[in-house]
């Protein structure tokens, strides 16, 4: 039996975290949730996941900073990071991609579909 890949979800909204967790679990991923940036960084470094799903608006440290730190750290730099966010303007999109995100997906009605497509492309599914 193969072990399911694990995603680390960094999302401060408990409601949204539960919805995203359900979506990821429905395609066979195990999901750990961190509710702020520092907790997410600690989780990712101590026990590197196969994938990070990262919100932008987070307490203490925003998603761009978290992304940059993970991509700078040799032990986490190869982990794909998908930013999933309500901040969809051009400036925020470029900030996410410059921080090293592998995709930047607005939380709209197509978000789950786009997320699945990217996970397939990254070889996660």
């Amino acid at each position: 039996m193969t072990m399911a890949l694990e995603a680390l979800l960094i999302e401060d909204s408990k409601t949204q975290a539960a919805q995203i967790k359900d979506t990821l679990e429905s395609v066979g991923l195990r999901v750990r949730v961190a509710y702020d940036g520092p907790e997410g960084l600690r989780e990712a470094i101590e026990n590197p996941p196969a994938l990070v799903i990262l919100d932008v608006k987070l307490p203490t440290m925003d998603g761009f900073q978290v992304c940059r730190r993970l991509k700078r750290n040799p032990s986490t730099q190869d982990i794909p990071i998908i930013m999933l966010t309500e901040k969809a303007d051009p400036k925020a999109t470029m900030s996410g991609l410059r921080a090293g995100a592998d995709d930047y997906i607005p939380k709209d009605i197509f978000a789950a579909e786009h997320l699945m497509e990217t996970l397939r492309e990254l070889g996660i599914l």
Partner: protein, 150 residues
């Protein structure tokens, strides 16, 4: 969404799609459609995110004018280069200086697209193009000004 024809300086290639922009829901459809077109052409998820943001920005501009327009989304080629093009008629810009429009769009869109062009007068048509190239696959983590981090 459907087939369409659009002008522009480059040779058009499939996929060729269009979305009528008349309410805010259409912005999401534009994002979705451009991501699909980018995927068909082989653009990475990050590049598709860039194009989706640029296309959504153009769709938002159209919505603000209150006059529905078709946004055309299609592949383009130029020599060996393959790209993804977004275009829309912009009748509200008929009497505005092309230079001023391009400066404003570049300021709003930053580096999301490689080229922003305006062609024709009646009505003018805005074109935005992102080219696929090897450098795009070699992204470096940079700060918000696009400078490599120390």
């Amino acid at each position: 969404m459907g087939m369409s024809r659009s002008k522009g300086p480059y040779t058009m290639q499939p996929p060729v799609m269009s979305v009528r922009v008349e309410d805010s829901m259409d912005i999401m459809i534009v994002r979705d459609t451009i991501r699909r077109a980018g995927s068909l052409l082989g653009f990475s998820p990050a590049n598709r995110a860039q194009m989706a943001s640029a296309a959504a920005t153009l769709a938002e501009l159209v919505l603000k004018t209150g006059e529905p327009q078709l946004l055309h989304l299609n592949g383009v080629t130029h020599g060996h280069k393959t790209g993804l093009q977004i275009s829309s008629a912009a009748p509200w810009l008929a009497n505005v200086s092309t230079n001023n429009v391009l400066i404003a769009l570049r300021s709003k869109l930053g580096d999301l697209v490689d080229e922003i062009l305006m062609e024709g007068e009646n009505p003018p048509i805005i074109f935005m193009v992102m080219w696929m190239n090897e450098a795009r696959g070699d992204r470096k983590v940079t700060d918000d000004d696009g400078q490599p981090e120390a």
